[in-house]
């Protein structure tokens, strides 16, 4: 689990904090977390589905898109540790609220980062170095720590929940049905975004 926490936290940084090199995208994060937890193909399947569903979401200004990295990483880990493909549909359905919870955490963190402005200007008023490298490094560490705490809490919790409910609930949500519905919805999302002016 330590490897998954570290990998998912590092990948989450790419979404906004550093680079935006697309390592945080669900198709990449899902495959990598799937590999670290034992089934890369399952990770790819989940990652593709989540990617299609949220491919058109744009991180514009104050808007925070649903955390697709968290949804893909959590769903893949839970499925790999609770029975594999048969519970992937259930894992995906359960992961989305956690992705929204992660987004709320981002909102809170960015609100707190507003304090950096006062701190930097205060230092400059006292003729000190504004220490921008330090602020940047501290922001990255805080973002990494926030993601690590999130995954450390959610990975085992979700695994336990999925195992508890796998029998009765996954019979109602078989993976093939969820994948078919998700795939059709993903096609609709992409088609709608490409057809809009």
């Amino acid at each position: 689990m330590i490897a998954e926490i570290f990998a998912a936290s590092a990948l989450s940084l790419d979404a906004v904090s550093v680079g935006q090199w697309m390592f945080s995208r669900p198709i990449v994060a899902g495959t990598l977390i799937g590999w670290t937890s034992g089934n890369a193909a399952l990770g790819l399947a989940a990652g593709c589905l989540v990617e299609l569903l949220w491919v058109t979401v744009i991180p514009v200004g104050k808007a925070l898109p649903p955390d697709g990295t968290a949804v893909a990483a959590l769903a893949v880990y839970w499925a790999n540790h609770s029975g594999g493909y048969p519970v992937l549909g259930l894992a995906l359905a359960a992961a989305i609220p956690f992705g929204i919870f992660s987004k709320k955490g981002d909102f809170f963190m960015r609100g707190k980062f507003s304090d950096w402005n006062k701190w930097i200007l205060n230092r400059m008023d006292h003729h000190k170095d504004p220490c921008l490298e330090g602020v940047t490094a501290a922001s990255l560490l805080i973002a990494f720590a926030k993601s690590s705490c999130f995954y450390a809490l959610c990975l085992p919790t979700g695994t336990w929940l999925i195992r508890m409910s796998a029998g009765p609930v996954s019979a109602l949500l078989p993976t093939e049905w969820v994948a078919a519905a998700g795939g059709a919805l993903g096609c609709a999302v992409v088609y709608d975004s490409l057809e809009r002016k």
């Binding site: 906004v16 697309m22 198709i27 960015r110 950096w116 400059m124 093939e176 919805l185 975004s193």
Partner: protein, 273 residues
């Protein structure tokens, strides 16, 4: 371009533009961090450096890939203002602030259309298509165990495709933006207008539609080869989803409504069966 502009250091720092993003001043800290090497080269460690950094800690927000244009332009104007007479300096400082404010919005719109909506969608569809084609290739073998082994290895292909394709275009573009901002200065708006940006975005969107069609064809082939063609019926629901999306219903809500319907149907089947 003069030898004094630390292009490499400024470019690498643009990757950290949004590290300290906050609701009050958005990318301000990242902007000042990115332009700092150029300002240190111009002013040294003096009060002028602090004043320059203070000027660039004001509210700023634009597309992270195209912000390099404004960063390069700022470095150039700061260089000119350091050499200018005291009377002209304030005018140049006001000019930089004006240009940043006026150009950040249009650059954000271009970046969103070109990269987030355009290139990212096209590369994602390409990557998913690569995965489907790999799966089709493996389905020709009768040996299930061998196929599963190969699929595990080929699982990295779509992700690698996505990252490499995307960054093959995006990284050079980001570097070019910083360089162009410094070289062109204020005329960068006229230079950018010469590029057929809207035509490029339209071409990427048309290409993405073909990629989407290709993906559907590949999935259909996989379903036929695995003896499950019935799943193609799921495509019949696509117009309903498109109508729901156009009404403004979020993807998450539509997904959960669908799962609710699936659960009800499965429960009904179990009760009746």
């Amino acid at each position: 371009m003069t030898n004094s502009f630390p292009l490499a250091r400024v470019f690498i720092r643009t990757f950290f533009l949004q590290s300290a993003w906050n609701f009050e001043r958005m990318q301000s800290v990242g902007f000042a961090f990115a332009v700092e090497p150029a300002l240190k080269q111009i002013y040294g460690r003096t009060d002028s450096l602090r004043d320059a950094l203070r000027r660039h800690l004001e509210l700023f927000n634009t597309h992270p890939y195209l912000a390099g244009l404004l960063i390069g332009m700022t470095a150039r104007y700061e260089e000119e203002s350091a050499k200018a007479e005291p009377g002209k300096r304030d005018e140049l400082h006001r000019r930089i602030a004006e240009l940043k404010e006026r150009m950040s919005g249009p650059l954000a719109a271009i970046g969103d259309g070109c990269f987030w909506s355009g290139l990212r969608t096209a590369c994602a569809l390409c990557a998913v298509l690569a995965g489907s084609v790999a799966m089709l290739w493996e389905l020709r073998t009768q040996n299930t165990l061998l196929m599963m082994e190969h699929l595990q290895a080929l699982s990295f292909l779509p992700a690698a495709c996505f990252v490499l394709q995307y960054n093959a275009f995006a990284l050079p573009m980001r570097f070019a933006m910083v360089r162009a901002g410094y070289q062109w200065g204020e005329t960068c708006a006229n230079e950018i207008a010469k590029f057929p940006v809207q035509r490029g975005i339209s071409a990427i969107r048309r290409g993405s539609l073909f990629l989407l069609a290709g993906n559907i064809v590949c999935f259909a082939a996989v379903l036929f080869l695995t003896g499950k063609p019935g799943w193609l019926a799921a495509l019949a629901v696509v117009p309903v989803y498109v109508a729901a999306l156009r009404k403004g219903i979020s993807v998450s809500k539509i997904f959960y409504c669908t799962l609710g319907c699936v659960a009800l149907v499965r429960a009904a089947i179990r009760i009746s069966g």
